[in-house]
């Protein structure tokens, strides 16, 4: 039995969209010079992606790399692979001024699925979904807490929050996806 559990144990709710806690995901904060050759190599090796441009997320299968700020990336890998990935990144960046921190257990991941998934987030985030680009990760707030999300499928968004507020975020998503709450009913 694994001792590691996500904050909400995979809770989900189905309203006009289906919202669910997606379970544990390996997440590693990487800070450094994003333009350096070492960084490019390290990220490619760790996540199989290029270093994303500003506000972009590069996805490669079950791994991804997201741009967090001009000197910060978030590398995402399967939860079990996090420690090895941290070690690999540390090794690849040795000699460079950098910081690698495992934050897998500090985060909660949610999915919002359905044709009207954006309407759930429209109620919570001051974000213009009309101009949100494909492959864009948006760091913002969901109601009263920090969140980041991106379009992870044709009818799916993935949202990341801090672990401690997972219950609050799930409450927000559940309330905002209640049947009857469609913003633009068909």
């Amino acid at each position: 039995m694994s001792k590691a559990v996500s904050a909400l144990g995979g809770a989900s709710h189905k309203g006009f969209a289906e919202v669910a806690e997606a379970g544990l995901r390996g997440m590693i904060t990487v800070r450094g010079d994003l333009s350096s050759a070492a960084m490019k190599k390290a990220v490619k090796a760790a996540a199989g992606t290029a270093v994303p441009a500003a506000r972009r997320i590069e996805i490669a299968g079950d791994k991804a790399t997201a741009w967090m700020s001009p000197d910060e990336l978030l590398v995402m890998v399967p939860y079990e692979a996090a420690q090895d990935t941290v070690a690999a990144l540390e090794k690849a960046l040795a000699g460079e001024h950098h910081l690698v921190a495992d934050v897998s257990d500090a985060r909660s991941v949610f999915t919002i699925q359905g044709a009207k998934a954006p309407e759930v987030l429209m109620k919570l985030c001051p974000v213009d979904f009309g101009t949100l680009a494909e492959g864009e990760i948006r760091r913002t707030r969901a109601a009263q807490v920090a969140a980041a999300f991106w379009k992870s499928g044709a009818e799916e968004f993935t949202l990341v929050s801090f672990r401690s507020v997972a219950g609050y975020v799930m409450g927000l998503l559940e309330v905002s996806s209640r049947a009857g709450g469609e913003i633009f009913p068909a």
Binding site: A54, M68, S69, E72, P126, R138, T140, R141
Partner: protein, 107 residues
């Protein structure tokens, strides 16, 4: 509620995503500074009706501090620029001067 464009990530963020940090371009005075210098650094702040330079942090976004030139009377935003600036960019100063001919200029 204001909107300001973060110069680091290009997001036009609304005020709820930002943290205000007061006057920009303060010079720090530490040990060895005179009482007057230290008082000025710690307590004296401009409060102009008009052109003002401020610190803002894209707190709910990329987390970076940036600086904004803004009119406190009309809330017009002349521009935003990185926090790693010891004074407003020259082209921004020129832009402000063009829009506010009576502005006394930066410092």
């Amino acid at each position: 509620m204001l909107t300001l464009e973060c110069p680091y990530c290009g997001v036009k963020a609304e005020e709820t995503e930002l943290q205000a940090g007061g006057e920009a371009h303060l010079k720090r005075y530490g040990p060895g500074a005179s009482d007057e210098e230290f008082e000025g650094y710690l307590f004296m702040r401009k409060n102009p009706k008009g052109v003002h330079f401020e610190r803002w942090r894209h707190a709910y976004g990329c987390g970076k501090w940036f600086l904004a030139a803004r009119c406190t009377a009309t809330l017009e935003v002349f521009g935003t620029y990185p926090a790693q600036s010891t004074q407003p960019p020259v082209d921004l100063q020129a832009k402000i001067k063009a829009k506010r001919p009576n502005w006394e200029g930066y410092k």
